[in-house]
Subunit: 281 residues, 2 copies
């Protein structure tokens, strides 16, 4: 018998996030049964071949049957659809969670569906610009922060989901949906916009990407993120992103002004402010 | 006897760039004599302790004596001063080079000093945000591109300097000063501004740096670069940076407009343009 708070975890979507969770759970000594649901036969095949699943299926009935935890590792737009579609397939006692970058939409949908006490929004800060099961790995969540957002009355469910994440090496932390989404606007969605804007500008200037040095490669790495996924995320969090976007554009303009104006002391002071922040002092 | 094209290399400045070059040269089987000049006694001590030098000195006369190659691994502003100060201390046949990020100022100064046939501007695209001898390592230049810019009639000197860089594992490539500086404005200086602007905006929003995920850490890594060094670089290349800064600000604005306007297809197309570029297709 597993010492984990769940006996059977159903993972919906076997890309980077879902695939890595499956691989990590299967490596646990007291592992739960892991079932997988995917619309993509190739993804299912890869996950099965890698030994990530006890059972994988394209059919929701069989993949969700018996699960006391269902984790949606799908883009938020898809998760919202599937929550409505699958609600009669879960055990009445099953906890339902997700791994999306924006938490207000899923929490609102969970409330509408009357799921709140057993819904736990999740957001592991892991991964990167690669996607699909091919990029999945058992240690993806080692040391990663995982934000957890409980619905009304979902404190107990949150504790159980937190325990699962700790078992795969992650550091769960609870947050409120709005505070989480605002923080992500700053630390995740704004850097994505900055990297993509660099990529767009460099593409238009016909600069060869292999002329980047190590610093330029770091700064533009996120530009390789999946466009379809990120268009969703940026729009889902569009309202809270407005402030960060304005703050960023203003900082770019200030640096540009000091560079054009040639005031070395003021330019150095701005750069020093950024460095001090980045070094965490 | 060394098979390298130089028997004694004097390195001026023993920070990340100069220190790494010294360490790399000392590991060669047919190594040249390596002397070091630094104004910083602590840096000299560290370099000596690490076995990076045959001889280190705070005195230019003794460090430069006998060198058939002198490499200025100092900030460009300092290099310009030292070229004037040291011109009577070099062997008449010595080749003189540097490692700065902007090439027009040193090439112009070399021309003014009548140094052109034996001056070779150099710019290794290696390093990162850390600085000082403490960050130096023998393999820093392994696989790194090194731009070389010859003055009028300096083709032979350029070939010899290229051979030295190849010996430490780098990939020398020759360029014209203006083309080099414009390329760097795009692939190095603009990413630095973007990362610093992110740092400034996040600092002002009082966002804790430890809340960054892996993507945000990549995008802001350059914000930790040395402000005094980068204030110089951005101003030295300020004229050529204006175009890239405008192109970048326009791309940020376009992304912000699509996010605010909610046109998913156009937003995704912009992100896809950036991805396509970054993936090198």
């Amino acid at each position: 018998m597993s010492t984990l708070p769940f006996r059977q975890v159903a993972i919906v979507g076997l890309g980077l996030m879902g695939g890595s969770l499956a691989l990590a759970l299967r490596q646990l000594r007291d592992r739960p049964r892991v079932t997988g649901l995917s619309r993509d036969p190739e993804e299912l095949r890869s996950a099965r071949r890698a030994g990530a699943l006890d059972e994988g299926s394209e059919d929701a009935h069989s993949a969700l049957a018996g699960a006391d935890l269902v984790v949606y590792a799908t883009p938020t737009r898809v998760t919202l659809e599937l929550l409505r579609e699958h609600r009669d397939l879960w055990l009445a006692s099953a906890v339902v969670s997700d791994v999306g970058s924006v938490k207000r939409p899923v929490l609102a949908e969970a409330a509408r569906l009357g799921l709140e006490p057993r819904f736990v929004g999740g957001h592991p800060m892991a991964g990167g610009h690669r996607s699909g099961f091919a990029a999945a790995r058992a240690d993806l969540y080692q040391g990663a922060r995982v934000w957890l957002v409980a619905g009304q009355g979902g404190e107990n469910a949150l504790q159980r989901v937190a325990e699962l994440w700790r078992a795969v090496g992650a550091r769960p932390e609870s947050a409120d949906a709005e505070a989480h989404d605002l923080l992500m606007a700053w630390v995740s969605h704004l850097p994505q916009v900055a990297a993509s804007a660099l990529g767009i500008a460099l593409a238009r200037a016909a600069v060869a990407p292999d002329t980047l040095g190590p610093g330029g490669r770091d700064a533009t790495r996120l530009a390789a993120s999946a466009p379809e996924l990120w268009a969703d995320i940026l729009l889902e969090n569009g309202d809270l992103l407005q402030g960060p976007l304005r703050g960023f554009a203003a900082a770019v303009q200030e640096l540009a002004d000091e560079i054009a104006g040639g005031d070395r002391a003021r330019l150095e002071a701005l750069l020093a402010r950024a460095r001090e922040w980045r070094e965490g002092t």
